[in-house]
């Protein structure tokens, strides 16, 4: 392991000649040269190109101040929406839930968000209306966003129809036609954190059995 340029991800830092760990978790490696420490917490560390669910806290001049469960509030420029210009831009009330992506994070500065992707299209970003938002740990949201599809989502999707949005910052949003479906899905997702794939399927089966009585 000599004379290699490696990229350090979250949880690792370089102190002169030594690379040391800052958080407790699993050391992961991805080819060709990325190392990071994976752990699950209730707070989020913003990283560029993450998709997160934020809540509007304030609107001052050119930016919305958004809470993304990180150490600092994030800024969302008012013009960072598809088709927005100075005369016509979306106005959100405080405590609106938005699906956004993190554009840049620099230490000491507030992270910046955007509701358009690189090419300028909306691509699903923007406010989430109706539905139910609940908070989880970052590890659970990563698991729910992993591909192939998480077993609990597959099992629920076979019997129920619902819409979800997951933010890597530990916020999840569920929407369905009937409130009882929203509650079933939300409870199933919250319980699936420590379960393995098979255990998740069994849990969902038992849950759906009880409901269909």
């Amino acid at each position: 392991m000599t004379n290699q340029t490696i990229k350090l991800g979250s949880g690792l830092r370089q102190d002169n000649e030594v690379i040391s760990v800052m958080r407790a978790g699993k050391l992961r490696y991805s080819k060709p040269n990325k190392y990071w420490v994976e752990s699950s917490h209730k707070r989020y560390v913003p990283r560029p190109e993450d998709h997160v669910l934020g809540i509007v806290v304030d609107c001052k001049g050119e930016n919305y101040w958004i809470d993304i469960k990180g150490p600092q509030l994030a800024l969302l420029p008012v013009l960072a929406f598809e088709g927005a210009n100075r005369r016509n831009y979306p106005k959100f009330e405080v405590s609106t839930l938005l699906y956004t992506r993190v554009v840049k994070t620099n230490t000491g500065m507030n992270p910046e968000l955007s509701c358009v992707d690189e090419s300028g299209k909306a691509a699903g970003f923007g406010p989430l209306k109706d539905g139910f938002m609940f908070e989880t740990s970052t590890g659970l949201s990563r698991m729910l966003l992993s591909s192939p599809t998480c077993p609990v989502l597959e099992a629920l999707g076979k019997k129920l129809s619902f819409e979800t949005a997951f933010g890597l910052n530990g916020r999840c949003w569920v929407h369905a036609a009937a409130p009882r479906i929203v509650i079933i899905v939300a409870n199933a997702l919250m319980n699936s954190e420590t379960l393995s794939g098979t255990q998740q399927r069994i849990m969902v089966e038992k849950l759906l059995e009880k409901i269909s009585d």
């Binding site: 958080r23 707070r43 150490p71 230490t107 420590t194």
Partner: protein
């Protein structure tokens, strides 16, 4: 230099340690730490935006709130808060989240001696649970000096009262590194040889103080190992093949431990073991399959041995007599992960451990 301690410990022996993390729902990190009867709860909130008035905005700021078990907050609590704050500031990486405040709240559940070290250990565990960036952990220990010059570690409340002097010492924990030369070095000496905090009460000579530091540092090795093991257990996923639970019920007059485990393919397998004496007085071990309830295997024998079988075959794997003293029908219990086995003997019980288990017992 032997001294008789009331609870039968040797002078350098610590009380039993227990630590659990993520126990509170609202805080972003929480931990409870107990050493013997002294128990402390720590909760961490943060990092949140903004620092206090006189704090440096280029660094992360920490705020400590100490809540005693009863009574109002006074000077003693303020002093503990200040000591904790300084200790936490030196173990955390302050440049990662500048201009933020992290709050650490300590709640004393029970004080039976060595309270501040217990609180420092709890705060450290809670900071790890919250994911606050840290350089290394802090392990804290209390050493005290009796009138006759004997040195004692981790005193309880009664011992503390009788001592002439005591010192709370906080050391950085031992680091594991991939390359031995890579361990962090500060000014030519490894980081483990440093000391983070030292609070002394009473009168002691310089030599006695250095002896305290030496003994304390030696004891931190076992504390560091405990921390490490505690974090490793919770980081790894629940292992397949671990014994999931014990359910006891009587089956035709026998006592039966029921073992359910999930094997590596993700299938749930369950076995029911009945051990005991039948009406005729034979001792036997029956294995009953889950669905049919039929007896699968019968093992008889009453020779005072512990026998091990592989789950899937009928052949005997090994036997051990555990250095003698076993009853004819010993009672057996495994611990949750299957690393320790307790077996009853004529005068008490013995604990057998595999290699993982023997580390637990130290």
């Amino acid at each position: 230099m032997e001294i008789d301690r009331e609870d039968g410990r040797t002078p350098n022996q610590l009380r039993p340690l227990a630590c659990s993390r993520n126990i509170l729902h609202r805080p972003h990190g929480s931990a409870s730490w107990s050493q013997g009867d002294t128990k402390v709860l720590a909760a961490v909130y943060g990092p949140k935006a903004g620092t206090k008035k006189n704090e440096n905005a280029e660094k992360a700021c920490f705020e400590v709130i100490w809540k005693p078990k009863s009574g109002q907050i006074g000077k003693v609590e303020k002093e503990y808060e200040m000591i904790l704050k300084r200790t936490i500031q030196s173990i955390c990486v302050l440049t990662v989240n500048p201009n933020t405040t992290t709050s650490v709240i300590i709640q004393v559940v029970h004080d039976d001696g060595s309270l501040l070290p217990c609180a420092i250990n709890a705060a450290c565990a809670a900071l790890v649970d919250a994911g606050i960036p840290m350089k290394h952990l802090a392990v804290a220990i209390c050493c005290c000096l009796a009138e006759n010059g004997y040195l004692v570690l981790d005193p309880n409340k009664l011992e503390e009262k009788k001592m002439t002097a005591f010192a709370y010492l906080v050391f950085p924990n031992t680091t594991l590194s991939v390359l031995p030369e890579g361990s962090s070095v500060a000014e030519g000496e490894p980081v483990e040889h440093g000391i983070i905090t030292s609070v002394t009460h009473g009168v002691m000579s310089v030599d006695d103080y250095f002896l305290c530091v030496e003994n304390g540092r030696a004891a931190t090795a076992s504390l560091s190992a405990f921390f490490r093991k505690n974090f490793q257990q919770s980081s790894s996923n629940a292992g397949y093949g671990n014994l999931e639970g014990w359910v006891y019920y009587t089956f035709h007059g026998h006592e039966a431990p029921f073992i359910r485990s999930i094997d590596t393919n993700g299938n749930i397998r369950a076995w029911l073991f009945c051990c005991g004496t039948s009406k005729l007085g034979d001792s036997s071990l029956m294995q009953i399959t889950e669905k049919k309830g039929t007896v699968k295997r019968f093992y008889t024998g009453q020779d005072g041995l512990i026998k091990f079988w592989h789950m899937d075959s009928v052949d005997l794997l090994s036997t051990t007599d555990a250095e003698g003293g076993l009853q004819d029908f010993p009672r057996l219990r495994f611990d949750k992960e299957g690393n320790l086995l307790a077996v009853s003997t004529r005068d008490g019980f013995k604990i057998l451990a595999n290699s993982t288990g023997s580390k637990l017992l130290q």
